[in-house]
Point group: C2
Chain length 297, copies 2
């Protein structure tokens, strides 16, 4: 019987069956749900196989912009998750490129970020500058020194960048302050990210925060919890929101993305959120569970 559970119920066996029956598309966050760092979470492969066998559409959405869709596909395959298509993977690097396509963007983009953003821009035919190639650039100051910048840059894209430096910050700032109409896109504003399992690392929000402050502009965010990727997915696959369940480990990105988008939401405690944090927060999923392996029991 399909009774809506109150917010934040533990996912019982009955509730899991009902959730699966009600859902046509599962959107999974990756890190903390499918894998942790470079390790597949126990039981995930079997759960995904079961859901596919039941005819469910599986989509993977990640705020990590350092890889392209194709690079993510390789990561899935390296972990034994085979048979997927790049079109089932939505990274914020892809979302940045898709956003520019959606507005008919024809100019150049300046990138603070890693390779994933550049690869996705190549696929949609947007010329780009910056990124890894500016990683070693320094500014030698002489009196009257001026940084030249390309007046054809019409968008600055900022994502996580382990090689961020003052050259990149100044280049992005100049484009945003001096090129008329230049738009500012953030792949995500995550405070921290999991470069490794061992600790939390400063996330893409740091690079975005720097450029916000120096440009005085607010970015358009394409990653979770903003709605761009959900709108794109619903349109591309022709899915209704009440047919979707969002599965993630972060309250402020994944679950907020689902709640704001009118999706059913399932929080996994296999990532960054503990039960103690869940008990104290205002963002509440419909259900919570130790890991998505639970969907198979």
């Amino acid at each position: 019987m399909a009774v809506e559970a109150p917010k934040k119920s533990y996912l019982s066996d009955d509730a899991a069956r009902t959730l699966i029956d009600q859902t046509n598309t599962f959107i999974f966050d990756c890190d903390g749900v499918v894998w942790k760092g470079d390790t597949l979470i126990d039981g995930v492969k079997e759960t995904l196989d079961m859901l596919r066998a039941e005819g469910k559409r599986l989509i993977f959405v990640t705020n990590n912009s350092t890889k392209s869709r194709k690079q993510y596909l390789s990561k899935f395959e390296s972990l034994g998750l085979t048979g997927m298509k790049p079109e089932e993977i939505f990274s914020s690097s892809f979302a940045a490129a898709a956003y520019l396509s959606s507005i008919g963007f024809k100019k150049k983009a300046y990138v603070i970020g890693e390779q994933g953003i550049q690869l996705e821009l190549d696929l949609v035919g947007v010329d780009h500058l910056g990124g890894p190639s500016d990683g070693d650039k320094k500014i030698e100051l002489k009196p009257g020194e001026l940084m030249e910048h390309d007046a054809d840059v019409g968008a600055v894209i900022v994502g996580f960048d382990r090689y961020v430096n003052y050259y990149k910050l100044q280049y992005a700032t100049l484009c945003l302050r001096e090129n008329p109409g230049c738009i500012f896109i953030a792949t995500n504003t995550d405070a921290v990210t999991h470069l490794t399992d061992a600790q939390e690392w400063a996330g893409g929000g740091a690079m975005v925060g720097a450029v916000k402050a120096s440009s005085g502009k607010e970015p358009t965010i394409v990653g979770k919890p903003a709605s761009f990727m959900l709108e794109y997915i619903c349109e591309q696959f022709g899915i209704r929101r009440d047919q979707i369940c969002m599965v993630g480990d972060r309250l402020d990105t994944d679950i907020m993305f689902g709640v704001d988008g009118g999706l059913r939401t399932l929080l996994c405690l296999s990532g960054v959120t503990t039960k103690e944090v869940l008990d104290e927060t205002s963002v509440q999923p419909d259900y919570y569970v130790e890991s998505i392996a639970r969907l198979r029991k």
Copy 2:
């Protein structure tokens, strides 16, 4: 006759005389008021000499944290402004150190910033890490990689840093997120700064914006327009606020610092603010003038 002028009057000869008579202490911003980059502004030396000859106290306050007080003194002297004392110069590097002294700080400080902050910390006996010596550090990621950090860091100080990198951002973030009670001090949050006259450069606000975003914490700001330096100056010299005139070229730092502090305010158009900008803004000085040379006519 000492009649209060309406806000934003051009400083006439009569008004200049009245302003000087009413004022016991002039607080001057440096860049855009005294000099531009490495060039003294015409007539400044003569004006400062005249004010000193009339018995006025002259204090110089800058948000630039890259130099210490003593290094600023050398800059004044190199421009022919001799006879000053370090105690008349208040840089935000000094303010960061003075703030730590004022709260009886006994732990270590991690610095994102240039040499000025470190030199000032040395003078007040605060141990510090980071700064220029972390400028070339990189993070080589291996699975399970962990950045160690010093548990004795009790303050993170963030100022303008031309050598900002991901290592420094992560170190600062770890201290703020993981060391209990670690405080966050920003020398200033200026969006842009004038490293050279030729263009505007991303300012200290960029580095602060990055650490705000990754730490999730709000800093205590010691530079203008925050009130710390004014309170310090009033106490140290025993000056009443109605005896002070704040002279600066920036509305959002200098003039706001004066208005918020209950000082008389004089805007110079010799720096970043044009008359057109002044006419459109809500922050209004008592007077405006082309340059402080006008005080001498």
